[in-house]
Symmetry: D2
Subunit: 275 residues, 4 copies
C-alpha cells in the first residue's frame, strides 16, 4: 500500500538510537574514543574524520583530509556568502548570526558543487560498470552537458583558469596513493572537455570542488558529507570576514564589493622548517 508521506502518530515505545557520541558523567566518547585522549593526539581534521566516518583515518588520509579542509578556507570578499555575512555583521548582530547567514548562502551554485560533482562522477562510473570505457563514458557525459548548455559540475571558475587548490589536491592524492576510480573518472572528463573545448564559451579547468568531490568519493564519503566538508572549511573564512567587518568598519555601512582593496601582508613563503 502506498505510504502516507507524513509521519505516523507516535507510539509510546519510541526509543531512538545514536551512534555518534556517548555522554556519561565525566566521560565523553566520540565513536568510542575518549575525547580528552583525542586532544593532543589527533589533529582537529582527524577528529572530524573520525566523527563523520566512524573510524580513525590512516596517517595518509589524515594528511589528505587536512589539506581538503585547508583548501576552501577563504576566497576573499566577493563570494555571496561572505557578503551575506558582512551585511549581517554591519548591523551589529553577533558573530554567530553573520556566520549562519553566510552558511545559508551556500546554495546550489555556491559550495554545492561538491555533491553535484560526486553524483556526476558516479553517473559516469555507472556507465563504466555497464561496459563503456572511461573515455567513452566521459565523452557521453560531456555530450549531455553540451546539449544542456551547461558546464559540468567540478569544472570552470569565474576567476581562475588553473585552480591552484585543485592541482595541489591531486598532487597530494597521487603522492599519498589515495587516487581511485573517481579521480580517474575526473581526469577522463578533463581530457574529454579539452577535446571539446570549442563547444564551450570559456576554458573549463577542473576546480577545487571537483578535486574535493573526486578525492572524497574515493575516500568513501557520502554525498551529503561532500558539501559538509566545504562548510567546515569555509566557516573560519566567514568568521574572519565578520570579525574584520566589525572591527575595521563603521556599522550600517553600505557594502559594495566592487570598491574594495587588499591592504594585508605582501606575498610570503612558509618557512622551510614546515614540511
Amino acid at each position: 500500500m502506498a505510504k502516507d508521506r507524513r509521519a505516523q502518530t507516535r507510539t509510546a515505545t519510541d526509543r531512538w538510537q545514536t551512534a555518534l557520541t556517548l555522554i556519561a558523567p565525566n566521560k565523553i566518547l566520540i565513536r568510542g574514543y575518549p575525547l580528552d585522549e583525542m586532544m593532543g593526539r589527533l589533529s582537529f581534521a582527524e577528529a572530524v574524520y573520525l566523527l563523520l566516518m566512524g573510524e580513525l583515518p590512516t596517517p595518509a588520509i589524515g594528511r589528505m583530509f587536512n589539506a581538503i579542509l585547508v583548501s576552501s578556507l577563504d576566497h576573499g570578499v566577493t563570494p555571496p556568502s561572505t557578503l551575506a555575512a558582512r551585511n549581517v555583521a554591519t548591523t551589529g548582530a553577533p558573530m554567530k548570526d553573520s556566520v549562519a547567514a553566510g552558511v545559508l548562502a551556500f546554495g546550489p551554485h555556491h559550495g554545492g558543487d561538491i555533491e553535484s560533482c560526486m553524483r556526476f562522477l558516479d553517473t559516469g562510473l555507472a556507465m563504466v560498470r555497464g561496459g563503456k570505457t572511461m573515455a567513452d563514458a566521459a565523452e557521453a557525459l560531456v555530450d549531455e552537458c553540451v546539449k544542456a548548455n551547461e558546464a559540468p559540475p567540478g569544472f570552470g571558475h569565474r576567476f581562475h583558469t588553473r585552480d591552484p587548490r585543485a592541482s595541489r589536491l591531486f598532487q597530494m592524492a597521487l603522492e599519498l596513493e589515495l587516487e581511485g576510480e573517481h579521480v580517474r573518472m575526473l581526469r577522463a572528463l578533463e581530457r574529454a572537455l579539452t577535446a571539446r573545448a570549442d563547444d564551450f564559451d570559456r576554458a573549463l579547468p577542473v576546480n577545487v570542488d571537483g578535486a574535493i568531490a573526486a578525492i572524497s568519493a574515493d575516500l568513501g564519503f557520502a554525498y551529503d558529507l561532500g558539501n559538509a566538508m566545504f562548510l567546515i572549511s569555509r566557516l573560519p573564512g566567514l568568521i574572519a570576514h565578520a570579525h574584520e567587518e566589525r572591527t575595521r568598519q563603521a556599522p550600517m555601512r553600505q557594502i559594495d564589493p566592487k570598491d574594495h582593496d587588499y591592504d594585508g601582508s605582501a606575498e610570503r613563503r612558509l618557512p622551510e622548517t614546515r614540511k
Copy 2:
C-alpha cells in the same frame, strides 16, 4: 556634537580595505601565504589560526589550538543546538540549513560562555593591575557572583562534576608552557570557589569553556573570536547529527531527547602509535 548613530550617506570615493585574503588569477593568498603551499604543510587548525590571527602559530601553539578545536567537537544529542539541527533535518531540509539552525542556538547560555569568561577574567586581572593580589581579586569576583545568585562563567556543568576536556587542556597548556595570567586567574577562581562551596547549591568545577577562555586569552585572542572557536569546533558535531538524523530516521519525526539510547562503538583506546 553628538553623532547620529545611523551611517552617513555614502560619498563617491568610498574604497574599503581587507587584510585577509588576496585573490588574483590563479593565486590565493591567505594573510600573504599561498593557499596551495599551506595545503599539506599546515594542519587545518594551524591554517585557521593564521587566518584569524594574521601570523603562523608556533608548533606549540599549533598543538594547543588543535586540541582546543577538538575539545568541543560534540556533546551528544541533548544540547539545544543539536536538537535544533535535528528538528530542521527531519523536515528534509538540506545539511546547511540544519547546521545554520544549530549555530543560531549558540546563545548566551550555550557556547557563549567563552566570551563571558574571557571578559570575567579580564575584570579580575584589572583588579590585580590596580593593586589586589590574585587571590583577593578572585574572592571579590566570587563575592559578586554569590550576591547576584549566579555561578561565574566558565564554571559548572549540568552533567559533569570534573570536565575531562578542561583538565586535558590545562595539562597541555602546562606541558607546552603556554600558561599565562588568564590561566592563573582562572586557577585562583577555582580555589576561591572551593573555599566558598557552601554558598552555591552545587559543585562548580571549571568547565571546557573556562579552560578555552583562559588559554585563548593568553594566546591573545579577541573576545569575539573566543566564541568563534566554539563554532568552528562544534560545526562538525552539528553536521554529524544532521546526517545521522537524515540517514537513520524517518522524516517528520517527533524528536524527544529523553528517549534516546547510544548504540555506537564500545569504549576503545587510541593506538599507541598515535602520540
Copy 3:
C-alpha cells in the same frame, strides 16, 4: 555554445533594476503607491498582495488572501519548526534567531508542500490541455502516486482527518467566486483518491497546503510565492512560541514535545459583531 554556469566577470556598466519599492527623501512608494497612504486604507494582507503581485487586490481577493494568511498562523508545539525555534529560544538567543531557525525547518516535508502541490496540479492540468478529461487526469496522477508509494502533495495530515482550514478556504473561494481550474483539479483528485482509498494505508483528506496551493494558483501566484505565503502566515506562530518559551520557562531547558499540556483559554466563539 554551452555556457559556463558560473557568472561572467563583471563589466563596468552593470546597472541593475528593481521594480518593487522607490525610496526618495521623505517618500516610500510600494509598487507606485505611497506607503503612508496605504497605512489605514489597506489591510496588511492587501499590502502584502500588492507588493508581491504588483497590483492591488480586488476586495474579494483581499478577503481570500487574509484568510489564506490566517489559516497557517500556528499549529501548536509539535511541528519541527516550532521545536527548532523553542530550542534556540531556550539558550537565551534573541527573538530573531529563534525565528530564523524555525524558518529553516520549513523543508520539503514541512511547509514546502504548497509549491509541490501547485506543480502537481499543473501537471494534471497539462494533461487536460492535452485532451484528457479532468477525471482521467486525476486518475492518472493518483496511479503514479500509488506506484511511487507516496501520497500526493496537498493531501493527508498526520493529525486531522478533515482539515477544518481547508474546508473553510474552499467555502470562501466558492462564496467569493474565486474558484478556478486548479481548484477543480484538486476536487477531481479528491474524488479519485476516495475511489482508490484501499491503495493507501490511511485516509487522505485534502489539507490546508493543498487548498492554499489550488486557490493561490488560481489567483496567479508563482510557485516560489506559494511557500512564501506559508512563511508569512507562520512567522507570528514562531514568534509567539519563542516568546512563550522565554517568558514561561527556565533557560537551557530540555524540551520534550511529548510532555506538554495546554493551559490556555477554553474554547470560545467570536462575537456576533465580527462578520
Copy 4:
C-alpha cells in the same frame, strides 16, 4: 544559595504548559478561538494580535495594528537585511534561506530600535513617576544622549528628514484615540531634541521605529514583541526581493547596491473607493 546558571538535570515528571494553541483532531484553537472561524472574520493582523496578546483587539486597535504592520513592509534594495537576502538568493538557495539570512541581519542597529526605544521611553516615564515633569524627563534623557554622543533610539534616519510613516501612525493614533503616556513621552522628546538641535550634527526627526515603539507600548506590548512586529512587517519585503533577485537576475551575480535603478510603476494614488 547562588544558583548554577545551567539547568538542573531533568526529573521524570517534567510536564510543561503552553497557552497558545490547542490542537485536537480536526480542531485548531488559537487562544481558544477556532481557527476556521477566524478565517474570513478576522484580518491577518487581527489574528496576529490575538495570538500574541491573548485577546481579540478592538476594531480601533485592529486598524492601528494593521497600519503598524504595513508601515515597515519594505524599504528598497539598500538595507543590509535586503542585501543579505539577495546575496543568498543569487546562489540559487531556496526562498526560506534568503529570508532567514535577511532576518538575521536585523541586529541592534537595524530593526532593533523598536525595543530600545520602548525601554528608553520607559526610562523617561520612570522619571515622571518619580516626580519629574515630562518635559524635564525628556530634557534629562536628551542630556544623556548628548554626553554619550549618540542619537536617542527612535529618532533620526539615514535618508528621510520627515518620516512619512511615523507621521501617519501618529495621525491614526490620534484619530483612533489610542495615544497614551508613551506617545506623550515621545512627543516631549521631540520637542526637547528640537530645542537642543545644535548639539547634534544632523536633524533627528522621529522615525517609524519610534512611532511603533510608542504606540505599541501604549497598547501593552512586551519589549520582545516590539521587534517582532518589525519582523512580521518586513518579511514580505525580504520575500519580494529574494523573488525578484531569482526571477530577474542571473545567478551568482555580484550585487552592488550602488548600481541599482527603479523601473517599477510610476507614482499612483489609491482609488477613492478604498477608505
